[in-house]
């Protein structure tokens, strides 16, 4: 055995003896530290499926896709149910700005229907 190896062996033995000689106080502290660490591992294990980075990605993609789909749906152009030409904004403005209240039009709705049909029919 060379001098270096012999010295190395002596060092190992001395250090191993010092490891064995760790006192009760330190052992007790180490035991507590280990329990705390294991508690942390258990907590981590309970929530692990949500913490694995690989699982965040599909979840994130799905959430983004859902938000985009919602945004597209909300912002889509609404198909008109009736021809816009019939609802002239000018007529609406005239009606609103006239001194007659809107209730007048409601009260005489039958008259206006008749007058409208007469005018379009051209009969008198």
């Amino acid at each position: 055995m060379s001098g270096d190896e012999e010295f190395e062996t002596r060092c190992r033995e001395a250090l191993a003896a010092s490891v064995e000689a760790v006192d009760g106080h330190a052992r007790s502290r180490l035991n507590r530290a280990r329990q705390v660490a294991l508690g942390a591992a258990r907590e981590q294990g309970d929530t692990r499926p949500f913490r694995i980075p690989g699982l965040w990605l599909p979840g994130g993609v799905l959430a983004t896709a859902a938000v985009l789909a919602l945004a597209v749906w909300v912002a889509r152009p609404v198909a008109p149910h009736a021809p816009l030409a019939e609802a002239s904004p000018l007529e609406d403005a005239e009606m609103l700005s006239s001194s007659d209240g809107p209730e007048l039009y409601a009260d005489d709705a039958d008259f206006y229907d008749w007058a409208g049909s007469d005018a379009s029919g051209g009969t008198g």
Partner: protein, 207 residues
């Protein structure tokens, strides 16, 4: 009708149960494995930290922090990876602790208006001899251990790390390199220099 609706649900639940039980069992196994690992390394880790920090209480804190970080961050990794990871964490914690201690002593020296403490470690022989809970005080061969610790404390940080990881923990060159975050060639160089320095300081007839 109700039974025909209920039964398949119970069937599904029953089918899930073994999978969940299996997952729980695997987790318990993993926790037991981690406990066995920590129990195995804790005292050697304490000695490494104690020699590097020359204070038992600080060393205990550092070991506890390292255990918690390993459990939290790497508990799910294969157990074969734990040892180099644990010692990597431990070395980083020791370095952080030493840095904080230096900063504290500088601030203290500035605040008290005294002469700033030397950045170098305090006299190793003196501090080893006054260590309140050092194992050398509890051992009959305290003289030999004290002089070895003193010599180790005077080594440059990387040499000390390489030497302690290889002699106390018994890591091979590759695992030491992984724990230290350097190449295997560097580990060999640090270890060889540490050995030469210690031999020169302690003398041929030590212990």
């Amino acid at each position: 009708m109700t039974a025909s609706v209920t039964l398949p649900r119970v069937g599904c639940f029953e089918a899930d149960r073994p999978a969940r039980a299996l997952a729980r069992e695997e987790h318990l196994d993993s926790t037991r494995e981690l406990e066995a690992f920590l129990k195995d390394v804790e005292r050697r880790a304490l000695r490494i930290a104690e020699i590097a920090l020359r204070n038992t209480e600080d060393a205990l804190d550092v070991v506890q922090e390292s255990m918690i970080q390993l459990a939290r961050s790497y508990g799910a990794r294969p157990s074969s990876e734990w040892k180099p990871l644990f010692y990597r964490i431990l070395q980083n914690r020791i370095r952080d602790w030493q840095r904080r201690r230096r900063t504290r002593s500088r601030v203290f020296a500035w605040w008290t208006g005294g002469i700033a403490e030397d950045d170098e470690a305090p006299d190793a022989i003196e501090s080893t001899a006054t260590s309140d809970a050092g194992p050398d005080a509890r051992l009959e061969h305290s003289e030999a251990m004290a002089s070895l610790e003193a010599a180790l404390a005077q080594l440059p940080g990387r040499q000390q790390q390489a030497f302690l990881l290889r002699t106390i923990e018994g890591l091979d060159v590759a695992a030491t390199a992984a724990a230290m975050g350097c190449s295997e060639g560097s580990v060999k160089t640090h270890y060889f220099r540490a050995l030469q320095t210690l031999r020169a300081r302690l003398g041929e007839h030590w212990p």
